[in-house]
């Protein structure tokens, strides 16, 4: 996600209270410095482990995730990769990583030509507002990625106040 895309998104959220705006501002700083290649060690390491050190280029991956979620315990995600899924040109694996959970790994999905379509849906946990990255490994051995910034709001009246 390019940095300039964040601004209109922030402006379109008049309902955020001050706390989230502050979290949002902090997120903005992080996004501007954090690229997969230079991100904080856990995320960078996880990406490197997945690609075996091969270059991960932006593109070919569509990452649908709501920009603002009510609860980080179950955030719906859909990842689609623009490939025909033929024997000679398909997606082998799709992986998902995050920036600020205790661990960077989220899931690795194994697909193949028999999937017919390179599309996976699941629900993930996000401990805080942060960046999430989806990476696809294609049958030609190349790696492609897409990032998204998600704001997680804090609920009032949660169960454990102690």
């Amino acid at each position: 996600m390019a940095d300039h895309e964040l601004e209109p998104r922030l402006q379109s959220m008049p309902l955020l209270n001050r706390r989230e705006l502050m979290a949002g501002a902090a997120g903005l700083v992080l996004v501007s410095v954090a690229r997969p290649a230079q991100a904080r060690p856990a995320l960078a390491e996880a990406l490197r482990a997945f690609s075996g050190g091969a270059e991960i280029r932006p593109g070919k991956v569509t990452f649908e995730i709501p920009p603002l979620v009510e609860n980080g315990n179950a955030v719906g995600v859909t990842i689609t990769v623009d490939r025909p899924m033929s024997a000679s040109d398909h997606v082998r694996r799709i992986a998902m990583f995050n920036e600020k959970n205790p661990q960077a790994d989220v899931a690795v999905f194994q697909l193949g030509p028999r999937a017919g379509r390179a599309k996976v849906q699941t629900r993930i946990r996000l401990a805080d507002s942060q960046m999430v990255v989806a990476v696809a490994e294609l049958s030609d051995g190349s790696f492609w990625s897409s990032e998204a910034k998600v704001f997680v709001t804090l609920a009032a009246c949660v169960e454990d106040l102690s």
């Binding site: 209270n17 709501p66 009510e70 315990n73 179950a74 719906g76 609920a155 009032a156 009246c157 169960e159």
Partner: protein, 257 residues
């Protein structure tokens, strides 16, 4: 997205113009106050996690229990027919006990009296599953008016509990859910507090929970000592909330943030 935001905006105006009881305002399910993502989670049975409890309840319905070795199905047959509309009548007056009883209380009474089995614990997987399964048989049906005269005084007691200011924050249920619904508490919109989607799957809980669990959360939220599970106060509140929701359809299993 725009739809529910403008709905909220209307709500804000209404709440500002008129802080009377909920009866004089449009009744809106809590579903109207959640994000489109949470709403679609509830709408699709194949992705609604609450359906896992419905499924579990369906199995328990068939399982023999207690010394009688009778299952729910031994007496009640197909829940799809026999339990249709039943949840709409609860809490109901229990003549034997001379007091009202809620749906999960009724299920437990059936276990102890008819199946000769130990009562299931509050918020246990089994009790939640059975209650969710039974309530699910009324999904889409509207809450009818309460006609049992023996429940009048209990509804009144429930209403006074709803209006009583409690806890260190000195708030009543009504202060938020009658007077300020549609506004926000922190980042969360305040709903009208209708009980029609319970038991429901709360993303915060990561599981299905009862209306009483939610009411306890609210009480802890205003720094009050919560009533005990199954207490007469909770039954009275549940009954008041149910008649206050008259006309709204049952959604069980609902999904909320």
């Amino acid at each position: 997205m725009r739809g529910w935001l403008s709905l909220l905006a209307i709500g804000l105006l209404l709440a500002a113009a008129d802080s009377n009881a909920i009866e004089e305002q449009p009744k809106l399910s809590g579903l109207e106050f959640v994000s489109p993502e949470t709403r679609s989670l509830q709408a699709d049975d194949a992705s609604n996690p609450g359906m896992l409890w419905v499924l579990r309840g369906e199995q328990l319905w068939q399982e023999p229990a207690g010394r009688s070795q009778a299952s729910c199905a031994s007496c009640h047959g197909e829940a799809r027919q026999s339990m249709r509309g039943v949840a709409l009548r609860y809490p109901a007056f229990d003549a034997g006990a001379g007091q009202p009883i809620d749906l999960k209380g009724r299920i437990n009474r059936c276990r102890t009296d008819n199946q000769d089995a130990p009562a299931l614990e509050h918020e246990s997987e089994e009790l939640l599953a059975l209650t969710t399964y039974v309530a699910h048989q009324s999904r889409g049906m509207s809450v009818p008016p309460v006609e049992d005269e023996r429940l009048r005084s209990v509804i009144e007691q429930g209403e006074s509990l709803f209006r009583e200011r409690i806890g260190q924050l000195d708030l009543s249920c009504a202060a938020c859910h009658d007077d300020r619904w549609g506004q926000r508490l922190g980042s969360s919109p305040i709903p009208q507090a209708h009980p029609t989607a319970y038991p429901l799957y709360r993303l915060e809980w990561q599981t299905v929970g009862s209306l009483q669990r939610r009411l306890r959360n609210c009480m802890i939220g205003v720094r009050a000592e919560p009533f005990a599970y199954g207490s007469p106060e909770f039954i009275a509140l549940e009954l008041y909330l149910m008649q206050r929701a008259e006309g709204l359809p049952v959604e069980t299993p609902g999904v909320r943030p």
